[in-house]
Every structure is written in structure tokens, then in C-alpha cells.
């Protein structure tokens, strides 16, 4: 099985030293050993609550931040060892779409300049040729060519997100990391942007790492999904499988907590127990045990090993029954 992106043992710790006269050093384990692989043209979802490290994983995979340990392979290139020209060639093959459409476009540049920049950085096209390509990109994301000479402040959030997607497409990447690409948008606009992304995926054969906290969106967009909790993946597998028959109690809690658009189900949402603990001081043993209905003494002492019987893996001592 060939992978477009393969992440193994990825760790990113942030060290904060504070206090006077006795400085106290706190290590925040934002990402604490994450493994996953994305196949060509596959949409891979990464879900979890705020602060579980999913955005950090996304950025470390693109080497927008330097991870502390682990390996990231793109095709057969070591992403973490690449530098200079090799890194720039890698950047051409993997791009990112951001969450906030209001800060992801440079306010002082016309859309045309923003879209032409990747082309000139990589020496693909300049001047008229770049402008023509930029116009074609806009058409591909459903915006008129007249947008080229306008500034970001003249567009709505959904339109800006389309422009952000066009910028990511400019280099014809094989992989797009989408960091909460629709979370900042109105629901009606979300659907349009998601449709566009799926359209692009099938037409261009793009692979996606799709970071989101919205299970509904991930269920619709992704083929496989990994659920993160406090810097680690706790469950991973095919989307339908994971959400229909979650093995990890955390996945179950997440699923049960996301609203179902069905009036007959009104009021049956279970109470979510507790808050996500600080990644600076994760609970010993299984990180989830303080919130877990199935926890036993063993869970307070020992982090559960990863079990993967059939391509649907999880890390839990007392998994929910299969099937």
C-alpha cells in the first residue's frame, strides 16, 4: 500500500518557563506520539476537541512548525530532513487551507497578486501568464475573473475561503491539509465550500488531511478518520465504521454529543462529563480515564496499547463491544 503522507511517532512539546525568582518550566505535550498514513486521493479526517493538538499535527506535517520527534514522509521524501531547494519542491506538492478566511489573505494585495505569488515563487509563470493561470484558478473555485483586481475586504467569508483554496491549488499539489476549512463559515456557505472541496478532490485526485471538530462534516467528507485526545490518536478507522460502532469511549462520547437533526431524538443528548484536561498535566495512565464511564484502576496507571484487529484501531483497556 503506497502512502502519500506517512506520519509516525510525531511529537511536539512546547516549553514554557515562567516565574521569578524561581522559574517553573512547564512542558505542554501538544502532540505526543501520533501515527497515521494518508493514501493518494483519500480524504483523511482528524477530529477532536479544541486543544487536542490536531492543528499542531497538521502544521508539523507540513513543517510549518518543527516537530520534536517522529518522522513525516511525503511519498518517498523525508519531510523533516528536507531543506533549501528540496523543501521548496516539497512545498509545491503539499498545501494548506486555513480556518480563518479573514486572516488568511494579505489585506494589501489584490487577489491576482495573491494567486500569482505561488507561481512566481516556484518559477512556474510570471506576468500575463501568471494572471491567466490565476483567472483559471478563480474559475475553478467558482469566482469570476473580475475578482483578480479586487482586494480581500471586498469579499465575503465564503468567497475568501474559495480564494484561499485557489491559492492552495495554484501549485497543483497532491495533498491539501485543510485546517478547519469551514468552521468559520455560515452553515449555508459551509455546504458550498464542502461541495467545492469534494469536487476538486475527485477531479484532481487530491488527498486531504481534513482537520475538524465537526463530526458531521468529517462523516460526509472523509473516508477514514482519526480521533485525537490530548495529543494522541485514540481511535482510527473507516469513517462509517468508527462513528457507527465506536470502540473507544471517547469517540462514543463525541458522537453522542453531536446533535442529530431529528426531532424524535430531541433531548436525548447525553451529558458530556468534564472538561478536556490541560495538555501540560495530562492525567496518568489513560488520559481519558477521569471522564470515562468505563474506567477501572488499570486505566489510571497504564496507557492502553494500540490494538488494530481489522483496520479499525483504538487504544483502550475496556473498549466498547464491537458490532
Amino acid at each position: 500500500m503506497s502512502h502519500v503522507l506517512q506520519v509516525a511517532g510525531l511529537k511536539k512539546h512546547f516549553t514554557v518557563t515562567k516565574g521569578f525568582p524561581k522559574p517553573v518550566t512547564t512542558i505542554v505535550r501538544a502532540v505526543d506520539g501520533v501515527d497515521f498514513a494518508v493514501q493518494p486521493a483519500e480524504a483523511f479526517g482528524l477530529v477532536g476537541e479544541s486543544g487536542c493538538g490536531k492543528s499542531t499535527v497538521a502544521r508539523a506535517a507540513l513543517r510549518l512548525i518543527e516537530p520534536d520527534a517522529g518522522s513525516v514522509r511525503f511519498g518517498d521524501t523525508d519531510v523533516l530532513a528536507a531543506r533549501g531547494g528540496a523543501l521548496r519542491r516539497l512545498r509545491r506538492r503539499m498545501q494548506i487551507v486555513f480556518q480563518d478566511p479573514y486572516s488568511s489573505l494579505n489585506p494589501r494585495r489584490t487577489i491576482g497578486r495573491t494567486l500569482a505569488e505561488p507561481l512566481s515563487v516556484h518559477g512556474i509563470a510570471r506576468g500575463r501568464a501568471a494572471r491567466e493561470q490565476a483567472g483559471a484558478l478563480l474559475a475553478e473555485v467558482g469566482l469570476p475573473e473580475t475578482a483578480l483586481d479586487r482586494y480581500p475586504h471586498e469579499f465575503s467569508g465564503g468567497q475568501r475561503q474559495r480564494i484561499g483554496i485557489a491559492r492552495a491549488l495554484a501549485l497543483q499539489p497532491e495533498l491539501i491539509v485543510a485546517d478547519e476549512p469551514v468552521s468559520a463559515l455560515d452553515v449555508s456557505v459551509q455546504a458550498q465550500v464542502l461541495l467545492l472541496l469534494r469536487e476538486l478532490q475527485s477531479r484532481r485526485g487530491l488527498a486531504f488531511v481534513f482537520v475538524s471538530h465537526d463530526l458531521g462534516v468529517v462523516r460526509w467528507f472523509c473516508a477514514r478518520v482519526a480521533v485525537m485526545y490530548l495529543g494522541r490518536i485514540v481511535e482510527q478507522g473507516p469513517v462509517a465504521e468508527v462513528f457507527a460502532r465506536p470502540r473507544h469511549p471517547y469517540t462514543r462520547m463525541l458522537r453522542d454529543a453531536s446533535p442529530i437533526p431529528d426531532p424524535s431524538q430531541r433531548g436525548v443528548l447525553p451529558r458530556v462529563v468534564g472538561e478536556i484536561p490541560s495538555a501540560a498535566a495530562p492525567p496518568p495512565g489513560c488520559h481519558f480515564h477521569p471522564r470515562c464511564p468505563r474506567a477501572t484502576d488499570r486505566c489510571t496507571q497504564e496507557y492502553p496499547a494500540w490494538t488494530d484487529p481489522d483496520g479499525h484501531g483504538f487504544a483502550c483497556h475496556h473498549p466498547e463491544p464491537a458490532g
Binding site: 521548496r88 486555513f98 505569488e117 467558482g142
Partner: protein, 301 residues
């Protein structure tokens, strides 16, 4: 389904309503907001007038500003001498007109020096972070611990009394403020996702800093610059007042005030007119600075 048939995000019935009929760059929008502020525009007009006065001084001045006359010593304002004459019989109006050169030059040049040192330092500190930031910031803290004027006086005295040295002294003393402003603005701008996007596209760090961050820190630096010109004009006047700036007999508003203090009760016009000139120019720069701040950052108000 092709991309072209995807529903566009504009509202039905108004196909291009969300796109303005005429495009305006952020700069054009700022200019419009600035022009909508009469007080700031008035300040700008006064400044432009003084620039014209400084440039065209030889054409405008009725007399030679350094020509003495024993027959016209400390004469009150009259039809011949609109602002009177000083203790050496020189025409005060002509000296105020020529003094505008020293003041405007000192204001602009010293701020250019300050920005030339402070903005790159702040950009580097804010963008690089880590040790670079720590070292540069501590140097700036140390410089700011010294009162601005004391630092300028010490530097000017060390360099020697002369207008050029005064401008250098004021510029160097003002640089820490620019570094602070540029650093803070850099931190703010660099936290935007478009900076991350620029890196993800494969731009080397220096190009991200120069092409994406620098243009976005211009507004606060420009505001700081305008306000700093006002402070620099005062500083130049202070240094000249202390004899560290423009050297006699060449006129500057500060040195005129210095000379005037001995005759405050007998010949108040010697102090009033250069003082008024300083007041007008400094006030105008401050008004323009405030107007720019409001025009460039519509979020605060």
C-alpha cells in the same frame, strides 16, 4: 458537476451585490477616511504651508536673516518689520522664515534616522524571536530607561554642537520607540494566517518578512513617524535653546527663543513669534498623526 455550475456565494437576485462596483485598495480607503477629518486636513495644510515657507525662504523673507542693523535694535512689530527686530537689529520675520528650514529639516531627517534604525531592528526582533529578540529588546529597554531629552543632550554634546549632530542625536534617541512600535506591529502581523500561507508556498523567511510583514506594519510606523516629527522639532528647538543645535548666526526657532529669554519683558515679540511657529507646526503634526491613526486603523476609534 463542474466548478462553474457550483452555486456562487452572492445573494440571489443581486448577482454581484457583494462585490463593490468600483474597487478600492486599502490605501485609497485610508486616504478617503483621512480627508473626511477636517482637523487633520487643516493640520496637513499648515504643514504643507510651512514646507513651502522653508523651501522658498529666500523668496519670502523681506530681509537677510543674519544682516544686523544698529539703527533697528529690538524694535516692536511695525509696517517695516512685521514681527519686530531682535537685539542685533535683525528682522524677526525673516529669521522665523529661515528658522523653518532648520526645524522642518531636523524633524524629518531625525525621524528618518530613527525609523532607519528602529524599523529594521523591530522587524528582525519581532520576526526572528528568541535570543535575537531578547538582546535587541534589552538594548531598547536600556535606552528607554534614559529620559529622551537627556539622552539627546548627552549625544549632541558628545558629537559636538551643530545642526547635523543634533539631528543624529535626536534620531538615535528616538530609534528605540520605532523599534518598539515596529516589533509590536510585526508580532501582530506575523500571527496572521497569510504569513503562514506565504511560508507554506515556499518563500524563504527573509522574503516573508519583507514582502508580507513589512507592508503590513507601515500604518503604525507611519503614525509613530508623524508624531515623532513633532517631538523631534521640539527636541531640536530644545537643543538649539541649549546651544547644541543650530549655531549662531544662522536662525532656528529654538536658538531664537534662547536669545529672547533675556528680553522677555522688554521685547516679548522676540519669544512670541518663534514660539508660535513651533506651537503651530508641532500641533499640526500631532493632528495629522491622530488623523492618520484613525484613518489607517478603522477598528480603533
Amino acid at each position: 458537476m463542474t466548478a462553474a455550475t457550483l452555486p456562487s456565494t452572492s445573494t440571489p437576485g443581486a448577482p454581484a451585490a457583494s462585490v463593490a462596483p468600483r474597487t478600492r485598495s486599502p490605501r485609497q480607503l485610508a486616504v478617503r477616511r483621512f480627508l473626511g477629518r477636517p482637523v487633520a486636513v487643516a493640520g496637513l495644510v499648515v504643514i504643507l504651508a510651512f514646507i513651502v515657507i522653508a523651501v522658498a525662504a529666500p523668496l519670502l523673507a523681506p530681509y537677510d536673516p543674519i544682516a544686523t542693523s544698529w539703527s533697528a535694535i529690538r524694535k516692536a512689530p511695525s509696517a517695516a518689520h512685521w514681527m519686530g527686530t531682535d537685539e542685533n537689529g535683525r528682522d524677526v520675520l525673516s529669521r522665523v522664515i529661515f528658522g523653518a528650514r532648520a526645524s522642518m529639516l531636523a524633524g524629518v531627517v531625525s525621524v528618518l534616522i530613527a525609523a532607519g534604525i528602529g524599523v529594521p531592528a523591530g522587524l528582525i526582533a519581532g520576526f526572528a524571536g528568541g535570543w535575537t529578540d531578547t538582546i535587541l529588546s534589552r538594548i531598547v529597554d536600556a535606552m528607554l530607561a534614559c529620559p529622551f531629552l537627556i539622552l539627546a543632550i548627552a549625544l549632541a554634546a558628545f558629537l559636538g554642537p551643530d545642526l547635523t549632530n543634533a539631528m543624529i542625536a535626536i534620531g538615535v534617541s528616538t530609534a528605540p520607540r520605532f523599534m518598539r512600535v515596529a516589533r509590536a506591529a510585526t508580532l501582530d502581523a506575523a500571527s496572521n494566517e497569510y504569513v503562514e500561507a506565504a511560508r507554506a508556498l515556499g518563500n524563504p523567511p527573509w522574503r516573508v518578512a519583507l514582502r508580507h510583514v513589512l507592508p503590513n506594519i507601515v500604518p503604525p510606523v507611519l503614525v509613530q513617524g508623524t508624531l515623532a516629527i513633532a517631538a523631534a522639532i521640539i527636541a531640536e528647538a530644545s537643543l538649539s535653546f541649549l546651544g547644541l543645535g543650530q549655531q549662531p548666526p544662522a536662525p532656528s526657532w529654538g536658538s531664537m527663543l534662547n536669545a529672547a529669554q533675556r528680553f522677555l519683558s522688554q521685547a516679548p515679540w522676540l519669544a512670541i513669534f518663534p514660539g508660535l511657529a513651533i506651537f503651530l507646526v508641532v500641533l499640526s503634526f500631532n493632528l495629522v498623526g491622530d488623523g492618520l491613526r484613525d484613518a489607517l486603523d478603522p477598528r480603533r476609534r
